[in-house]
Amino acid sequence: MLFVIGVITWIALLFTDLSVVFSAKNNLPQEVPAWLPGIILNLYLITLYYYYKFKIDRDEQLNFVDLLWRVFATGLIATVISLLFRLVEGLLKSTALTNNVVYVEVIYLINLGLMTAFLLASFAAWKRLILYQKSKWLLRGWSLFEYALLLALLYTCFDRTPNENLYLVLLGIFVVMGLILSANMKWVAFLNFRQKWTCLLLLLLTIFYFGYLSFTTSSLADTVQLGFTDHRSHLFIKSILIFVIVYSVFSFLVILFNLPTTSVFEQKLEEVVNFQRISQSIQTEQSEESVYNILLETSVSSVFADAAWLETKDNSTHRVFTYRITEKEAYDIINHLKAQNVTGILDQGQDKTKNLSKHLGALKGSRFRSILAFPIYVKGENIGTLALLKELPDGFNKEMTKIVSTFANQAGISIENFRLLEEALQGERYKEELKIAKTVQKSLLPQVLEQDSEFEIAAFSESADEVGGDYYDTIRINQYETSLIIADVSGKGTTAAFHMSQMKGIFHSLAQECIEPDEFMARANKALVYCLERGSFISAIFFLINTQNKTVRYARAGHCPVLYYSAAKDKAEYFKDKGVALGMVRNNSYRNFIEAKEFGYQPGDIMVLYTDGITEAKSAKGEEFGYDRLAAVLLDVKDRSSREIQEHLIAKLYEFSGTDNINDDYTTMIVKFNNRT
């Protein structure tokens, strides 16, 4: 769109200028006002300015080389077109046409149009370059420059006969402003070596095109005089021409002088990239090993080392990662340094980085003459050493030391993060396992307990976050006999849940038939010895309630003593008797450690079975709930039902511990013998 407007304005310019020339030549009165061509030219310039503003200035995709390429291409097209006309002229030789003032005027305007288009294209491109990494002041300076140029454009519209002195002063101001702005060359630093060479070539050709086009237009202007509108002294065009050429030359020289230092800048950039790689390795890499490998690679490439090794020492594993060096060579150096009593780095005793070059001189048969070593720390613990080697003596400087030490630190952080992540995952897995174990444990406890007209049973079990192994169960054997069990598996977690399920299996297989309590324990012990590992055991009490004789027979295997409330005596006491926990004695002599007891019960008697989580429950002060408190709680509610006694006991327990977060398992089973019969 803007391009079309540009072409139209150029054609308009052509016609007005031609009409002026034509009128002058034929001595006709001027049909066109003298100021019109100037205004049309300015319109053309403004159109071009906006055209390139949108085409070049706003195009985010362009990089520096692309920008220069655009400018170069515009210049090339303009020059080729201009040359074509020259060629035609050369072919026609000096004919009437070439001498015709109209023809010359047309050629001149074509050249002028091409040159100004080229100038404004470069202007837009240079603006991008100058404003790269702009500051507030630079932006203001540039705006000032552009507004001043716009004013110059307006000025040329109205002042047809310029004042020579004012013109020179204004031009001088523009040149100075252009020079000041031309000092902004930050973009040059971001070119790599190849790009710099390309830019040099493009700039050289661009400068040549500027020269050619400005020479052509001015020489053409010299050939015609009559009625000719000379645009050579157009303030806007001249200012831009000078600015554009100055910046091109400046850029050319700056790039040329920057060439030798390019490698340093490129190296710095590579360091930044490498640093990022190490930082990112924590998210993407699968193992510590890859972090070590990245560290090795990046350090070597950053300091141009000839070889390197990375020695890691974990609790048990000792590993060496090498780079362009055999493990044997690395160990030769390590051993040599050890033999020379060089302390402080390879023995990982000191956190300071040391340049150990002088010690290598003494090692025969090694091609390396410089060594630089770094410790790698994870949580303040030295986990490894990075050693870099060079064949040159004194091959490492301070800068390199700093870079590699940063890398080593970053690698340490990466590994630390890596380990934390691993730990978190492990913890998560463990929690998941516990959840399963807890579900298993819950499912092993009976949903419904045996009830009888003679007695009622209530039970409760709540485990802490860590799964315990508390178990209780009941089985009715026949009309008169019921067996009961309460057990506590040592240990916690999945193993405890597993042993608990074994205990349940044993109970359900042995207690289906009427079995004497001591016999039950002996057989259970025999079975459990095969599955309980060394150091694990199960404490249990087994009861056989006979409602016909109103007796209870029981055997205690290392479990908490039964708390018994006798209604007749109105007293609660613990049954003290012998009994070793299941799994402790691993031979047939176990039977000798078990006692079978029997007592008769009265209506109103209460039997409280529990696990050590209850008696060992702690208050905020660290005091234990204990046996006396348990007995006292029972006496408080001795007249209530077993369910109510159980609820009261648990309520008291929570009240005592002062928290809902129990740290052990609370398990209790209350048997109350009924008053009814």
Partner: protein, 114 residues
């Protein structure tokens, strides 16, 4: 947490756990006893005077050595337990399986019995 001290007296190894022995610290107790046996001591005393609490896992450690000691003819005597700790041993029936003495003098006498 537990801290375990060891000292030797007349060819007797005295192990003194200080603090609480729970599931995690029981490993330390196990290692100490294993070390003592490994060093060839056949008379071991366990001073429970500073033992504040022992969990079932801790008791499991003592228990797990019963058979080994019988085979290797090693005698181990525990002494100086607080009432609370003693109660834990008693409930589980360990009084029948382990040799437990009230004080050091008694313990020495028992460990030297043939």
């Amino acid at each position: 947490m537990v801290h375990i001290k060891r000292l030797q007296e007349d060819g007797i190894d005295i192990i003194a756990p200080i603090g609480e022995i729970d599931a995690s610290s029981s490993i330390e107790l196990d290692l100490t006893i294993a070390k003592s046996v490994g060093e060839g001591f056949s008379k071991i005393l366990v001073d429970c005077g500073a033992l504040e609490y022992i969990s079932s896992a801790g008791l499991g450690v003592f228990m797990s050595y019963i058979d080994e000691f019988k085979d290797k003819n090693v005698r181990m005597v525990l002494y100086g337990m607080s009432e609370k700790v003693a109660n834990t041993f008693e409930i589980l029936g360990l009084y029948d399986l382990l040799t437990i003495a009230p004080d050091k003098a008694e313990a020495k006498k028992k460990v030297n019995e043939v």
